[in-house]
Assembly symmetry: C2
Homo-oligomer: 316 residues x 2
C-alpha cells in the first residue's frame, strides 16, 4: 500500500506519544483515536509497545490494540518490541510489523533499554531468528530506527562512522529495514542529507527505512525537506506533536503530523491523508486525555485560501 502514496507518514502518537505521558488513556479511547486516524487516511500507525506493563502501564493494552487495528482497512499496524519476549507477544497478537529500540549512544542505550548498542543488536538478531521460524501467515517484518543517530543529550556528538557501522551490523543481523532517528532534536539539514546518503550506500535503497525527527529545536520540518532531497520517503510524526523520548532529558517534541502532512501535500507529494479529518482527530485524542497540551501550526492557522491537495493538482 506504500506504493499508493508519494510519502508514507507513519503516525507514532499512540505509542511514542502516549508512552511519554504518565496518565493512561483508556483502551476504548485509544481504539476510537486509532480508528479516526486511519479513517483520515494514515496508512501506518504504531499502536503501542510490548513492554512490561510494570514498567509502562500506559502500554498494557497493546495486544488488544493490535487486534482491533488489524480490522481496519488499508493500515500497516506497527508495534514496538523491546526484546525477544516482547516480539513473542507481538507475533502472538498478530502484529505484522515490529520496530525495536536501538541507540547509537552507549549512555542513552543503557538508560533506555539497559543494554549496550552491541547487546541490542544481538537482541535484534534473536528477534530476526524468531521471525524466520514463524509461519509465513504470521511472519512480521522488522524495522529498526537507530536512536540518537544525530547526537545525544548525554554524550553530545555521536560518531557518524559508528552509526553506519551499526546500520551494517543490523542489516547483517537480518533487519528488514533500517532508518535513522533524531531522538534528541539535534539534527540539522546538512547532517540529515549526509547521513541518509551514507545510509543508502551502506545498506542499499531496498533496506533503507525512514526518518524519525523531532522538533525540539524547531528544525523538524526543515530536516524533512533535507531528507526529501535525498529521497527519504517515510517519516514518523505524531498527532499534535505528542511525545518525545522520556530517557533523553529535554528531548520532547515529535514533529506534528498535521504540519508535516500540510507541507507534503502543499509540495505536491501525495500522502493519502485528508487534513480536515486528520485535524478532527485532535478532539478524539483530547476526549481520551482531557486538557493534554498538544501542538500544531496548521490546526491553529488553518489551510491557505484555495489550498489544493497533491492529488487534485496531479490530474492531467
Amino acid at each position: 500500500m506504500h506504493q499508493e502514496v508519494d510519502v508514507l507518514v507513519s503516525e507514532v502518537g499512540p505509542r511514542d506519544g502516549l508512552q511519554s505521558i504518565k496518565r493512561v488513556m483508556p483502551t476504548e479511547n485509544k481504539i476510537l483515536w486509532i480508528s479516526a486516524l486511519a479513517s483520515s487516511g494514515l496508512r501506518e500507525i504504531e499502536v503501542g509497545s510490548f513492554v512490561s506493563p510494570h514498567l509502562m502501564p500506559q502500554m498494557a493494552d497493546c495486544a488488544t490494540l493490535v487486534r482491533e487495528a488489524n480490522k481496519l482497512e488499508n493500515l500497516n499496524v506497527l508495534a514496538l518490541v523491546p526484546n525477544l519476549k516482547g516480539a513473542e507477544l507481538a507475533i502472538a497478537a498478530g502484529t505484522r510489523k515490529l520496530t525495536m529500540p536501538i541507540s547509537a549512544s552507549l549512555e542513552h542505550s543503557l538508560n533506555n533499554i539497559g543494554k549496550t548498542p552491541r547487546e541490542a543488536i544481538e537482541e535484534v538478531s534473536r528477534v530476526c531468528g524468531l521471525r524466520d521460524s514463524t509461519s509465513v501467515e504470521q511472519r512480521p517484518t522488522i524495522d529498526i530506527g537507530i536512536s540518537t543517530a544525530f547526537g545525544c543529550t548525554l554524550e553530545g556528538a555521536v560518531s557518524e562512522d559508528w552509526v553506519m557501522e551499526m546500520a551494517g551490523l543490523l542489516a547483517k543481523a537480518g533487519a528488514d529495514s533500517i532508518g535513522l532517528s533524531d531522538t534528541t532534536g539535534y539534527a540539522n539539514p546538512s547532517q540529515i542529507k549526509r547521513m541518509f546518503r551514507r545510509l543508502r550506500g551502506e545498506i542499499g535503497v531496498e533496506k533503507m527505512a525512514g526518518a524519525h525527527l523531532h522538533n525540539t529545536r524547531g528544525q523538524g520540518l526543515a530536516n524533512v525537506v533535507a531528507a526529501l532531497e535525498v529521497d527519504v520517503a517515510t517519516f514518523d510524526s505524531s498527532l499534535g506533536g505528542l511525545g518525545g523520548c522520556p530517557f533523553a532529558p529535554g528531548a520532547t517534541g515529535n514533529i506534528v503530523t498535521e504540519d508535516l502532512v500540510f507541507m507534503l501535500e502543499a509540495m505536491g507529494l501525495h500522502t493519502g491523508i485528508d487534513l480536515d479529518a486528520l485535524i478532527a482527530t485532535r478532539e478524539v485524542l483530547l476526549s481520551g486525555l482531557p486538557d493534554e497540551v498538544i501542538y500544531g501550526n496548521i490546526p491553529e492557522a488553518g489551510l491557505p485560501k484555495g489550498f489544493t491537495y497533491a492529488s487534485e493538482r496531479n490530474v492531467t
Copy 2:
C-alpha cells in the same frame, strides 16, 4: 560586509515586529535593543519605518534610530519607506538602504498602502529617481521584497507569472535588488525553489535579494532549507518571532532569528552571530516591552551538547 558571512541574516524585529504591536517601545529601549542585536553579530537591521506617525506612532522615532544605528560598527541600517515622502525623510536622516512595500496581490496592496501594484511600482520608480539625484555620499540602495508572492489570505493563489512580471518591472524601475516575501505564511518548499529559480532567471543573480518568510503554518525553516538549495543567501527574521503583517489577517509570525541562526550555523553556514549573545537580547527586548509574548525553540531547549559554530569547524 556581506562577503564576510555565508548567509546574511537581516533582523526585522525593530520594524516589522514593533509595527505589529500596539504599544510603543520607548526610543531609548529601542536603541539599547538595536545596539545589543548588532553586538551579537547581526550585520543588518531594519530599524523602523518612515511612515506617517499618525498612522503608526510606534515608528515615529525612525530618524533618531537611523542616526543612532549608523554609529554602530559593521551594520547595514535599513528602513522601510512607504512612498516618496518617506524616502526623502529617510535620506535626510542618513539611511543608506531603503526597502519599499510592494504587494503582488491587488487586495493586499490596496489594504496595505492604498495603491494598486502598478501604482506602487510607479512610486518605486519615483524613489529611484530621488536616489539618482542624491549626492553619492548620501545615496541609498533600494531593496524591494514582493509581498504576498506565494499567496494571499484575501485573494488565495497569486499568479507566479505576475510575480515574475512585477520583478522585471521593478528591475526596470531601477530597484537595486528584489526579493520575495511570504507575507501570509502560505509558501511551501517546492514553491520556494521554483520561484527563486525563476526570479534569478528574470532579473539576474546580481539583483536577486533574499527571502522574507513567515512561520504561520510551521513551514518557515523548511522554506529556508529550500531557498538555500537554490542559493538564496539573505533571510529576514525577527528576534523572538516578533511581528507579522497587520494587514494580512492571521498572518502573524516572522521566522525566529534565534532558530534560524542555530540552523544555519549547525549546517556549517557562517553567520557571524553569537547565539548566546543573540538570545540575551531577548531580555533587552522584553525590558522595553514587558510581558510581550515571544517565541523560539532554541532559547527554550538550549544548544546541543558539544555544539560548534560553522567558523570553528571550517578552520583547516
